[in-house]
Symmetry: C2
Subunit: 364 residues, 2 copies
């Protein structure tokens, strides 16, 4: 979707991807195929670029640093990525900056989990410090007897873990933050996200919360990205508790699923704003133009991609905006596309109902 | 822009274009390079397609008919194109259907122009029946002494011409009509267009006219496309006179400049709806989501394309949506891109002022 945005500005995009004919590679000016750890491919790729950005937070910060030493600006920087990639480091950084995060600790010995539980009670969330996403790398510990199982499942002690208090949230919120090279920020509206099986299911924009809470959430999101000196576009995921506390759950250093609705529903999409930041162009307006909702389309089977029900979805919801990603292979739970509905003369809740109606028809 | 819409649906598009590396070819799945009159290229192209559409109304109707005989559906059909390509035939068809058109006549002898002028007065508009666009192929005759010059300029007698009464319009209006394979229609809002030097300069959506007039304009537009049995997306350009008469100026059998605003400002863009019709999918909602305006970006010099002022435009108008087309060569007056501004909390006139502000910065 960043490549699509680049096309309107006639900015040629070069992709580095593990597999040939990737969704981005299909429409990019050029596609390098290989892993970022392959020095030869990486060097050829870097040579073809004036400036580099990411849509994947797992690229090793050391490799990003090497690109920077080659005179290729990387946004967000290797410094920012290093702070985000390690969830323990991320949480320490945010906590040290006075930002609200759930109680957490990293630990050396399993026994420390028990001590943490005595203070905060069960359930706890065990998290791998690196390479977790969509709930992979997380494990919920409901009681002491499950500690060993959780640690083993997540690869402890080879893999570093942290443990977090479970937050009984009433809503999950998210804000996309744009931060330019000069440090100025622009904030998209606060949205409500719903996860199913730890994967983003829907996003409602704007979130049905008070203006004061929305301002607080935006303020927290802005400070979080300033704290990590982020340059680019960032997703800030937050919990809202019954007593109106907002806590940062996680940061994503890239256009984020909770910002896909911005393509149709905001003056400038998150993808175009990433481009603008990377190119040093002024950041575009992040204002919402209409209440909107997005629903993800996840793979229903493990098979070559073959979307069904598109026609019925269009017939049922004429205002449907469908985005299929062109991934060749469907897998159960894989993000294969998304859809967005705008309700300019109604509410975001109306938009969500319409989006859910459309999504129910589509099987990929 | 149709290829961009197709990408969201993962529909592979094959392009036939005269020159390699065309804007559409750059992002299409495959590009055939050659003229449509080249039978060999045309046959290879047809072989690669399941269904064919146009973004150029000059493709010879006979060639489209040949494609149809090869079992390749063409939308709009060769029948429709034959009615539109010849402006005299187009006007006769609309007039015979009882639709309002300016007084006109085709003629064999120049003397007939004089007779026509006696009835309708000067000025008159002389038009080439075929291959005119953006004012090319038109000539304004202000008095009898200019008849010979106009006829010679437009290539008479080798080229067929028609003559039309000059309509002292107060506004130019346009409606995009979507007509599906089953004959059902969907209408975009009535917009006001402004031409400069016969080239579309700006589009304001919706037009500032009464609901009754808007309904009448939509009704005329719908009937015009039904009359020519059009299947696809059509631009219907109209004149509005001081005494609230609406007259059809011209039809375009394709996504049209006066519908570019639909990308951002309508639930479904004209490009996606063309795709939907061609693929036999249900037509998407044509509703406006916010008042909007579009301004064209025309070439300012004859030189390789090198846009200037984009940064300043973005800084001045943060809600700007810029579309550059990727044409390699700029020429004075050539359409090099366009920009759209939405004003969800204001009027289309506000949007137009903002769009003009942005456009003033950009030189291509």
């Amino acid at each position: 979707m960043t490549v699509e945005a680049a096309h309107c500005l006639t900015v040629p995009v070069v992709i580095l991807e593990n597999e040939a004919d990737s969704p981005a590679g299909q429409i990019a000016a050029r596609e390098f195929v290989g892993h970022w750890s392959n020095q030869e491919v990486l060097a050829s790729f870097a040579h073809a670029c004036d400036v580099i950005t990411l849509e994947n937070e797992f690229v090793d910060a050391g490799i990003l640093h090497w690109l920077e030493t080659q005179g290729k600006p990387v946004y967000p920087s290797s410094h920012t990525l290093a702070l985000i990639q390690d969830k323990a480091k991320q949480k320490h950084t945010l906590y040290s900056a006075g930002l609200p995060v759930p109680p957490f600790t990293d630990f050396e010995y399993q026994a420390e989990i028990n001590a943490f539980a005595k203070q905060f009670g069960y359930p706890l969330i065990l998290k791998a410090c690196r390479n977790g996403y969509d709930g992979r790398g997380n494990f919920r510990i409901n009681g002491e007897t499950e500690i060993a199982e959780g640690c083993a499942k997540l690869g402890y002690p080879e893999r570093e873990l942290l443990v977090e208090a479970f937050i009984p949230f009433i809503k999950e919120l998210a804000v996309m933050v744009v931060r330019a090279q000069d440090g100025t920020t622009a904030l998209y509206p606060v949205v409500e996200t719903v996860q199913r099986d730890h994967i983003c299911h829907s996003v409602t924009a704007p979130a049905a919360i008070s203006p004061a809470l929305a301002e607080e959430a935006q303020d927290i999101a802005r400070k979080a990205i300033e704290t990590i000196k982020g340059v680019g576009v960032f997703g800030v995921e937050m919990f809202l508790t019954a007593d109106d506390q907002i806590l940062i759950n996680e940061l994503a250093p890239r256009p984020h699923n909770s910002g896909h609705y911005t393509i149709e529903a905001c003056q400038t999409s998150q993808f175009e704003n990433l481009l603008r930041v990377v190119l040093g162009l002024p950041v575009g307006s992040t204002a919402l133009t209409a209440p909107a909702a997005m629903v993800n389309l996840l793979g229903a089977t493990n098979s070559p991609t073959n979307p069904k029900g598109v026609e019925a979805a269009y017939a049922a919801v004429p205002e449907l905006n469908l985005h299929l990603y062109g991934k060749k292979q469907s897998r159960v739970g894989r993000k294969m596309g998304h859809l967005t509905v705008l309700s300019p003369h109604a509410t975001a809740e109306t938009a969500l109902a319409r989006a859910e109606t459309a999504a129910a028809y589509i099987k990929i």
